[in-house]
Point group: C2
Chain length 354, copies 2
């Protein structure tokens, strides 16, 4: 890996492994609660992991945030999406008006939604939109790099800053979301580059391509990799050459959250690709990641495998926006409330095993 810029390198140094003592105390508490040991399955595992991540044996999650990072992709010129590029900006307006799926799901989870422009073409003017833009959409990466290396670094830094800016309002649980017409193509290119697997295994229907469309998309990703030859050992090179502005921003959100010991709930394929980049930049980050769901996008399976994560949900969803993350928030909250609010056998006067 080439040398990292100073700010990024110093943030990465702050990222520590989980707190083993807090995790051990949480495990001991789980054994004393009024239920057969292990009978809450992955809810117990979540409570113990969150204890290690936060450093608190009985973690509390009050403030939940879904970060939706938006950006446009020059590669849409190659006909990789059934939707026109202006849908990115239109959906950003929809998020800000509260009318998208993620808004309904975030309300259900009691989470707030932070919408950030990392490089949308013609973004809506709205006081709620966070201005993190690095450019007006990436360049078409079949013809050259998507962005410069400096721009790639800037996206990551702005993602880190976005997390810092939210700490004051309260931030206990970080959910990742994105919007960008064409970004499953970008994610496929990033995953193919990092995992060194052919595009046939990393492309999928996205928002709804037919079989011929998926084949064309694979050829587009193949052309991008041939044209740019991203270095799999250099995550910033991969991000610059075949990434996206919002993908780089997500890398920064993930690194920034891990540096502050905040659990990061991944969404689907695009946030998974960003997590792969983040883990390559800083391997201990993986301890901070929770996989919300398995996306219907076929390449997501590959990403989860590479991250060593087992998703909580598998509901055939493939929308992005952070919708899977928002659904998982309620599972995580349930796990933590059971951990915190249940009485022990001694407190409840319940007999143990014979």
């Amino acid at each position: 890996m080439s040398e990292l810029p100073h700010r990024l390198a110093s943030l990465i140094k702050e990222i520590r492994p989980p707190d083993r003592r807090a995790a051990r105390l949480a495990r001991e508490r789980q054994r004393q609660l009024t239920k057969p040991p292990g009978s809450l399955g992955r809810l117990e595992e979540l409570a113990i992991r969150l204890a290690g991540i936060t450093g608190s044996p009985v973690p509390v999650v009050n403030h939940k945030v879904i970060f939706i990072l938006a950006g446009d992709h020059g590669v849409v010129r190659q006909g990789v999406s059934p939707y026109p590029q202006e849908v990115t900006a239109q959906m950003v307006a929809n998020f800000l008006a509260g009318g998208a799926a993620i808004n309904a799901l975030a309300r259900t989870a009691g989470a707030r939604v932070v919408v950030a422009d990392f490089g949308v073409i013609n973004p809506p003017a709205h006081p709620g939109l966070r201005a993190c833009r690095v450019g007006a959409g990436t360049a078409d990466f079949t013809a050259g790099p998507a962005m410069t290396r400096d721009q790639a670094v800037a996206t990551v830094e702005r993602g880190m800053e976005l997390v810092e800016a939210e700490l004051e309002a309260g931030l206990d649980l970080v959910g990742t979301g994105e919007m960008g017409i064409g970004n499953t193509t970008t994610a496929a290119a990033v995953v193919s580059a990092l995992l060194e697997v052919p595009p046939e295994r990393t492309v999928g229907p996205g928002t709804g391509l037919d079989r011929a469309g998926v084949s064309r998309k694979a050829r587009v990703v193949e052309a991008a990799l041939l044209q740019n030859r991203p270095d799999p050992a250099d995550p910033l090179d991969v991000l610059a050459k075949v990434g996206g502005f919002e993908v780089g921003g997500l890398v920064g959100v993930i690194l920034g959250a891990a540096a502050r010991r905040r659990p990061v709930v991944l969404d689907g394929y695009i946030t998974g690709a960003a997590a792969l980049l983040a883990v390559r930049l800083c391997p201990p980050v993986r301890h901070y990641l929770i996989a919300s769901h398995r996306s219907a996008e076929p390449g997501h399976r590959l990403v989860l495998g590479a991250l060593g994560l087992r998703p909580l949900l598998d509901l055939g969803m493939r929308l992005g926006e952070g919708t899977g993350a928002a659904l998982a928030f309620t599972i995580i909250e349930a796990a933590l409330r059971a951990h915190r609010e249940m009485r022990t056998f001694a407190e409840a006067g319940v007999s143990g095993r014979q």
Copy 2:
């Protein structure tokens, strides 16, 4: 099937298939919402199913209730559980005090918990406990029937009444839960009898038996079936001979909810066995059932297959109490909020497919 008692027969006649028009309107609405068609996966399917169940194209779920039915089981004398029988009553007290896993999970889901005594030995005196008892625990069904046929009918009728009694306080979504030391053995006997499969396939570790314990449990179920010879074509005979008071109560809750067009969220193995009995009594009931999760108890897979249900969650849980149902409540609420609150392409000014 022998003739059914009058009240039960008349309730069953009230149970109708889902409303196809409401389901069709819900499907049409899903296609207009600002997302690629199908991209919310099973959330879309849930919204459409709930429309059919409730008869409303845009269903609203305000009042969510977890019914926890408790009863004791004479078969515990055969050493089928690692926990002593008094834990049933102790856990009922824990539910009423708000200290069990289901209380924490119901609070997370915004659901109220209704705890009913269908036949606990030494139940706690508590004004919150609903008095539905049919006896002080069932008889040991390895030596004769668990209860009389009249008692079996009484359990079902009291379950129906329990649902009726909750309608006034508001009841839009019914979650099923149970407590009864020994009741995975009872469920295994019911499932073996109804599906005519050997006990080896229907018994499991329950609250934590080791391999030898599971083998002993299988022999106990085998002995019960040989002793009682329940008639698989007569669900009330199966319930009386190898069932439990809370299992019969759950049958009544399921039938009563379906008669009132309320969706019924199943929990794990015991509520699944009750659902099998309910569906055998009245096949259209299956349209009202939602499988919350796949329990770690191995026989649950068999039950879900027989009911033709695919669970929403698979989190390795095996606690009962309604914990899986409570977790699924939030998924269902998310599905309905997305269905109701999302804007359409026209409302949001978002372009459709090219």
